[in-house]
């Protein structure tokens, strides 16, 4: 493998030297960890993960390769692989791709792929680290004109819960997808299209799907869009419990500094293949840590609901956002999720700005009721250009917990606290301290002591240092304990493991 990768790199370099307009460029990210999960006996498990992305562009042709390497003291976990490779031709109207590529059909009801740049995922069973992406391996062709856009592809989506060193590799791509998509621009305000897709999962027959899409600009500041995707056998059969469909309707609007959106989504029996379709979730995605972790992950087996959001941006840089969302899960039993969120940004003067949020949610599926979250983030800029940010976030919720003494489930109130102080000497040098506390029994319990449930408050304390040496090199250092849990970025949610130790990350563009 090392030989093949070296050949790939040398070929790229050779090509770049023979073409005046050609260039080879890329990025590298190296992460070294010395430490372990908080409850492990081995406290100094050292690992190194490296990812190199190499691009070659010459005229209409582009080549791409991603190399990933993972090194640990345990030989079976180590790997060095060319995990992505592709070739692309593109001109003003055509694009043809072969190898590994990304594609999302419509709004992702039938097919969505993604890359989360910079993310390193650790698989909890094998403790293998790798980049968290879901691409397609195969080929795709598309044609774009003023009147129509047509795409066709035949590819195998990656099943990314399995790491690259999974043997055999075919387990990571259990599905074969063939699609044809056409979108027609009827005039400047209306486009409409359709998708035909068939899926074959290893050991089963083809299943056929279709979708209808539209995008309508009603007035300059009001837009409507919709997508209805369905298994062809069940077309327009909303009533049956077994029918497979996804429906996404939405509208957005703005007037001056006021804007908003209203969305309705309904999914039923709509997990395709190994789950590579990734329809948009029903609720708002938050970046505040206490809310981001508490997210409601979509169950495409049966869920419907709405989301409504409005915001107003004041001239003097104040801003207000209000969001309400409701999701009803009816895959088996009926569970309801409702959330109300209010956020304010206040620019008090040139040096001081404040953010605040208040959130209320009931999550019946997770059993978290009366969940109240609040936060206050203060950002102060000193005269010398340095700055300090103080971030305080609190969350409290009720959940029935098993009590050993009574042998019954009883209501219990849990709370989470997130606090951080970061000082930026300049935009290129930032030092931060982060402390988190939790009384949630699901977190305070030591999983290695099966006979008892620890309920003492658990805390995490860590330090982060960020230094941008120049526009191409960045150094990040973490030391201490870091809380894991669910994390969501761009609608993609995954589980991050806790960590205790030292972590160094070097990022380079070249």
């Amino acid at each position: 493998m090392m030989y093949r990768c070296s050949v790939f790199a040398v070929v790229l370099l050779a090509l770049s030297s023979t073409q005046v307009t050609a260039q080879v460029y890329g990025s590298n990210s190296f992460e070294f960890q010395l430490g372990n999960l908080p409850f492990e006996d081995d406290r100094s498990y050292s690992t190194g993960y490296n990812q190199t992305n190499l691009y070659y562009d010459s005229g209409n042709i582009s080549l791409y390769g991603r190399f990933e390497q993972f090194i640990t003291p345990i030989e079976e976990r180590n790997y060095f692989q060319l995990t992505q490779k592709s070739i692309q031709f593109q001109d003003d109207q055509f694009r043809v791709r072969a190898g590994n590529f990304y594609e999302t059909l419509g709004r992702g009801l039938l097919l969505r792929s993604y890359d989360i740049p910079g993310s390193v995922f650790e698989e909890s069973f094998e403790r293998t680290r790798y980049a968290f992406f879901r691409e397609l391996e195969g080929f795709a062709a598309e044609y774009t004109s003023d009147l129509v856009e047509v795409k066709a592809l035949r590819a195998q989506p990656l099943f990314n819960p399995l790491p690259p060193n999974t043997m055999p590799d075919s387990l990571r791509r259990p599905d074969l997808v063939e699609t044809l998509q056409a979108n027609f621009y009827l005039n400047d305000r209306i486009s409409a299209g359709g998708i035909l897709m068939r899926n074959q999962t290893i050991g089963s027959d083809y299943t056929n799907f279709g979708a209808l899409t539209t995008d309508i600009t009603i007035t300059d500041n009001v837009q409507f869009f919709g997508e209805y995707a369905f298994e062809l056998e069940d077309a327009f059969g909303f009533e049956s419990e077994t029918d497979a469909f996804g429906l996404y309707l939405g509208s957005n609007f703005y007037s001056g500094s006021f804007g908003g959106s209203l969305e309705y989504k309904s999914y039923n029996n709509f997990r395709i293949g190994s789950g590579y379709n990734d329809p948009p979730s029903l609720i708002k995605e938050h970046t505040y840590p206490v809310l981001n972790r508490s997210t409601h992950v979509l169950d495409t087996g049966g869920e419907y609901g709405y989301q409504f959001e409005v915001y107003y941006n004041f001239d003097d840089c104040h801003a207000l956002t209000f969001n309400i969302s409701r999701a009803v899960n009816n895959a088996f039993l009926r569970f309801e999720y409702i959330e109300i969120f209010l956020e304010g940004l206040y620019q008090l003067n040139d040096q001081l700005s404040v953010k605040s949020f208040l959130d209320y949610a009931d999550d019946e599926l997770k059993g978290e009721m009366n969940r109240i979250s609040a936060g206050l983030i203060t950002d102060y800029l000193f005269d010398n250009g340095s700055g300090i940010i103080v971030d305080l976030q609190f969350q409290q919720f009720e959940r029935d917990e098993f009590v050993q003494t009574s042998g019954q489930f009883e209501p219990n109130t849990s709370s989470n606290l997130y606090s951080s102080v970061s000082y930026s000497f300049s935009s290129d040098f930032v030092v931060a301290g982060v402390m988190e506390l939790s009384t949630d029994p699901q977190l305070t319990d030591d999983p290695t002591t099966f006979s008892m449930v620890e309920d003492e408050t658990r805390f995490w304390l860590g330090t982060n240092v960020l230094y941008r040496a120049n526009s191409t090199n960045t150094i990040e250092l973490f030391a201490g304990k870091r809380r894991g849990g669910p994390a969501c970025t761009s609608g993609i949610c995954y589980e991050i493991l806790d960590f205790e130790g030292v972590e160094l990350r070097l990022t380079t563009r070249f």
Partner: protein
Amino acid sequence: MKFLLPLLIFASGFGYNPEVPNFRLKNLNNRTVAFNSLKGEQFTVIDFWATWCKPCVKSIPKLVEISDEFEDQGVQFIGISIDGPRNLAKVKPFARSLGMTYPILLDVNSEVMAKLSVRAVPTLLIVNADNEIVYVHEGYKAGEETEIREKILKLLSE
């Protein structure tokens, strides 16, 4: 020794910036457009942002002011939203309510973001007429718009 390669690559990163390829993305009207059809005569400022990014909310009004100031001098601003399908509905009203009148492109799969080695939002790139990246600014805190404005002035005067 095992980590020699990444360390060598890290060292090689000093002082080299690639050209921006002629990528194609959809705009807010669901039309596919190419970077070269939008870029400025002198410089193009590409701002990667997202609706969920709080520093972006603070930086965008400042960038709009800078865009207005330099639009007659061959400097074109382009906003690239990295919102996924989950947040796409919010992009247009969000952009318009913040006064963004320059072109907005949608990098739904974070493909262009990855290709340009952008790892966080907001990240701002200044690209010259030959498509070379001549300036990169990651993150935003109050007052940094002055640094960006001065950089554009300096580049225009060279």
